[in-house]
């Protein structure tokens, strides 16, 4: 009989596709949260594979903060179009009205635009399942996160009330008003993600590759001045540096790293030889070790 050894990436891909299909088979109104980052890119690519030749039978939802990099907005619109999927963009109207921004409002910026914005969007469209691109290797509290993560009617995550997941059997049943966040790429590591992007030729935001970009130094982070909303301090002028980003979020909150990596293999090389973990580039995590868990309980993804 024919033997075929499945590589770790083939097994991960099969598992993720299985999860995506399981949700579509059981959910009433699923949506895919799309943040335009590399993990979202892989998740979207897996969805295309799972439902081919049909387009993925759910919309993409971008919970926008209005402060993403311009390159991200460009790829977002293109990727949705290429996949033949509807793109929903949600901006929290209260945050817009109050002019919430990362410079003046600190933690409130993330809370209003992302955490509250996500809850509002899910309620507005009545989505019962939302796919997210979180991985268990990202952070310690996520190592215990289920693939199907249940949220109460008010979107809270209760660590004591999660269901055991055995074999490949996922219990997706829920009461009215309750919802589920599903993480199809839970078991992928950062290296797996990069390797897969490389193998499959998945398009990602150019910001992941090094290029000369205008930057300033703020609170120990190298921040790119992506548009003219950036309030330069007295005497501060952007310096052009050869930089790239390891993670992408709101541009004023995302630290760049100096780099010469302009190709995927070079990016992966740099990632493997680097000595700091991925989320270090995000200002949001810099408070305490268990901060992600607190945010999760509050409803942040």
């Amino acid at each position: 009989m024919t033997q075929k050894t499945l590589t770790h990436l083939q097994r991960l891909e099969a598992e993720s596709i299985h999860i995506l299909r399981e949700v579509v088979a059981e959910a009433e109104n699923p949506v895919m949260l799309y943040s335009v980052g590399k993990d979202s890119a892989v998740m979207l690519h897996l969805a295309k594979k799972a439902f081919y030749p049909a387009p993925p039978p759910f919309p993409l939802l971008h919970v926008d903060t209005t402060w993403k990099f311009r390159d991200m907005y460009a790829l977002r619109d293109k990727a949705a179009k290429d996949a033949g999927m509807e793109l929903l963009v949600y901006q929290n109207p209260e945050a817009a009205e109050r002019g919430i921004n990362p410079f003046d409002h600190g933690g409130l910026h993330t809370d209003m635009w992302k955490t509250e914005g996500l809850k509002q969007a899910l309620d507005k469209y009545g989505f019962d399942v939302a796919f997210g691109g979180a991985r268990r290797d990202e952070e310690k509290s996520r190592a215990k996160e289920r693939v199907f993560s249940f949220r109460s009617a008010n979107h809270r995550w209760d660590p004591k009330n999660q269901r055991p997941e055995l074999w490949r059997l996922y219990n997706a049943r829920k009461a009215k008003g309750e919802s589920v966040r599903v993480f199809p790429i839970s078991n992928w590591t950062e290296l797996d993600i990069w390797q897969y992007i490389h193998l499959e030729g998945i398009e990602i935001v150019p910001l992941y590759f090094s290029a000369p970009r205008p930057t300033v130094e703020r609170d120990g982070l190298t921040i790119m001045v992506d548009d003219d909303r950036f309030p330069l301090r007295d005497g501060e002028t952007p310096v052009t540096k050869s930089v790239r980003f390891r993670t992408l979020g709101c541009y004023p909150l995302t630290g760049a790293v100096e780099s010469t990596a302009t190709t995927l293999p070079e990016v992966i090389q740099e990632m493997l030889l680097t000595t700091t973990s991925e989320r270090q580039g995000r200002a949001i995590d810099h408070d305490q070790a268990a901060s992600m868990e607190k945010k999760k309980q509050e409803g942040y993804f």
Binding site: M1, T2, Q3, K4, T5, L6, T7, H8, Q10, R11, L12, A14, E15, I17, H18, R21, E22, V24, A25, K49, F51, Y52, P53, A54, P55, D137, K140, S141, A143, K144, P159, R163, P164, E165, L166, W167, R168, L169, N171, R173, K174, A175, N187, T189, L191, D192, H198, P265, I268, Q269, L272, L273, T274, T275, T276, S277, Q280, A289, A290, E293
Partner: protein, 634 residues
């Protein structure tokens, strides 16, 4: 303290990233579970594996060093356990309360470790973590030896069907790397392991804290010549390819219907492999077809194997939906609605015998009732105890009845087709995990049970070849008369026969049937089934039924072995039969007292290709009988 990682890929990464990527791309994956309590040093061992395989970044190391000083239990030295104890609440309590998954890779493999706690919730969490594992590492504290919990962990590992077991005798540094202690532990464990069905295991003396025999041989255990832990994990054979040797099974997860021209069946292959052109059967309907395409984004494929998520199309437009299973046509699955199963109860609310729960198996969810458990297993002693119910973390054996028939495998043969979860219909909690042993009502299986005494044996005992002499013709054509003579003559020849007569059967087996078209069809179907059983018993069956419809006669022909069915057309013209009118039925029919009478107000479809035609206007019943016997026994 051995802290120097032996996995040095940095040079390759720096010098030739393409070569590194090429190598990494072909790595296989091993999923394993670590079993042990807090005191066994389990978290320390996992932290050590992450550390030694360079999965710890500098910033994490800095946090770790700070945390080790603040809350560590290793007197200021690096406390690897802090790397893996996750949730804030747990860290404060100093215990882990759930299943956590860790990732690391070496030059040969990617590993996913399920880390489960050793305290109260151990059964639920361990069973969950073990359900996806290829291998189990059972930790023993060398100072304490084989404990109750060691037996409990081993029992669960075996219950969930993990075939590869590593006995890691930890904290060897604290007993001075004493060989005799190690040997005694291994001997004691071996005796126990064999008693519960674990045939093989690999024992390794280690120190997670000091790093002995983790990545390579320790200088302190020169007497140990076996592999160190990581090299062993890298080289152990994984079961994933073994499933490919089994027959093809694809539980249909989702039907892909983007337009009227495409109908794809999507799912993960549970076992075997598939190629276009393969004959398949859909269960439980039993319909057969041929695989036409294996569709993928990159183009059609010519092979797909167990563990892959695929979309296939079939050559025929047959009914097939989520929950059904597409299988190799020649090797169907059993289908049943009653099972004996092991249950692991996972909910705070105890099991209620007789209550209906949702049962999810493969891609199907059905309603199921659990019967009172036959027994509960004391997982510390493995004794069977009488019980009326199962509560949280209890393991027992019970029968389950589903509200419809489902295709399944025994869990021992296939995890995907034999493992299930039970869901409470009100709370939606996953309340139990189950493993099917076997179906209870074997008669309902889609394929026959092989019996030791087969039809050939029955026939050879009677020194004859079974046959069905199917006499068809109008009422009063002479069927019964001829059939009776045939049987008498065969009896004189010591042949074992049975005569099924239309009128006689309607007095018993078919007395609920009338003479409408539907009832006539059912009448013939039942007679066909009875005749088939009799040929299985080795008999020569003679039937005398009007059997007016061609399709039903052909249906009965199809039930028999090729050549066994001998259709005998007793050809008597209507006017002759009506003139004879032995039973006075034609007169009744003509006067309207009898409805649906064949030849009068109900049609008779004369055979077109009968094996024999008896013209009763040209021969006597005796002559007809001789002719029939001559054909049967040349």
């Amino acid at each position: 303290m051995t802290t120097e990682p032996i996995y040095k890929t940095d040079a390759l990464i720096a010098e030739n990233i393409d070569a590194y990527l090429e190598a990494h791309q072909h790595k296989t994956m091993l999923r394993f579970i670590t079993c042990g309590s807090v005191d066994d040093g389990k978290s320390t061992l996992i932290g050590r594996l992450l550390y030694d395989s360079k999965m710890i970044f500098e910033d994490q190391l800095a946090t770790l060093e700070a945390d080790s000083k603040r809350v560590g239990t290793q007197g200021g030295e690096i406390d690897f356990a802090l790397l893996v104890d996750g949730l804030a609440a747990e860290r404060e309590q100093g215990i882990t309360i759930d299943v956590a998954y860790r990732f690391f890779a070496t030059e040969k493999r990617k590993f996913i470790v399920a880390d489960t706690p050793g305290h109260e919730q151990y059964t639920r969490n361990m069973v969950t973590g073990a359900s996806t594992a290829d291998l189990a590492v059972i930790l023993i504290d060398a100072r304490k030896g084989v404990l109750t919990q060691t037996r409990r962990h081993s029992y669960l590992v075996n219950l969930i069907g993990i075939r590869h077991v590593v006995l890691a005798v930890n904290k060897m540094d604290l007993i001075g790397y004493d060989k005799a202690t190690f040997d005694n532990i291994v001997a004691e464990y071996g005796e126990f392991a064999r008693s519960i069905g674990i045939e093989e295991f690999t024992a390794i003396p280690i120190s997670g804290f000091k790093g002995d025999n983790i990545t390579g041989p320790s200088e302190f255990t020169p007497w140990y010549t076996g592999p160190a832990l990581l090299p062993f994990l890298e080289s152990v054979e994984v079961d994933v390819t073994a499933d490919q040797e089994q027959p093809f099974r694809l539980p249909v997860q989702w039907v892909n219907r983007p337009n009227l021209d495409f109908r794809g069946f999507a799912g993960m292959i549970a076992s075997g492999s598939v190629r276009p052109g393969d004959q398949v059967r859909v269960l439980p309907s039993g319909k057969t077809s041929t695989v036409s395409r294996i569709v993928s984004l990159e183009g059609d494929r010519d092979l797909a194997v167990a563990g892959e998520s695929v979309t296939i199309t079939l050559a025929d437009e047959i009914d097939c939906s989520r929950g059904q299973v597409i299988v190799a046509a020649q090797a169907p699955l059993e289908v049943a609605d009653q099972f004996e199963s092991t249950l692991v109860w996972m909910d705070e609310t105890e099991m209620v015998p007789g209550r209906a729960y949702w049962l999810k198996i493969g891609t199907q969810t059905v309603s199921a009732t659990i019967h009172q458990p036959k027994y509960e297993v004391n997982i510390n002693t493995q004794e069977h105890l009488a019980t009326k119910t199962l509560d949280l973390n209890a393991i027992g054996v019970a029968n389950i009845t589903t509200d419809r028939e489902i295709p399944f495998s025994a869990y021992a043969d296939n995890r995907d087709l034999g493992g299930f979860i039970l869901i409470d219909k009100i709370t939606n909690h996953t309340v139990a995990a189950g493993m099917i042993h076997f179906a209870l009502r074997r008669a309902q299986n889609i394929h026959w049970q092989a019996t030791d005494i087969g039809r050939d044996h029955h026939a050879s005992m009677k020194h004859q070849k079974p046959a069905v002499l199917w006499l068809t013709g109008l009422s009063g054509s002479g069927k019964s008369t001829i059939a009776n003579i045939v049987e008498k003559k065969l009896a004189r020849m010591n042949r074992h026969t049975f005569l099924l007569d239309g009128d006689n059967v309607r007095h018993g087996l078919n007395k609920d049937l009338g003479f409408t078209e539907a009832d006539r069809i059912e009448n013939i179907r039942r007679v066909g089934e009875v005749a088939k059983l009799m040929t299985d018993a080795g008999l020569i069956v003679i039937t005398a039924f009007i059997s007016p419809f061609r399709s039903e006669r052909d249906m009965v022909r199809g039930m028999m072995q090729p050549g066994e069915f001998v259709e005998v057309f007793v050809d008597t013209p209507l006017e002759v039969a009506e003139a004879r009118d032995v039973k006075g039925l034609y007169a009744k029919a003509r006067s309207g007292q009898l409805k649906n009478f064949t030849g009068i107000d109900s049609p008779y479809e004369a055979p077109e290709n009968a094996e024999m035609r008896i013209d009763t206007t040209q021969m006597t019943p005796e002559e007809a009988a001789d002719l029939i016997i001559a054909r049967l026994i040349p």
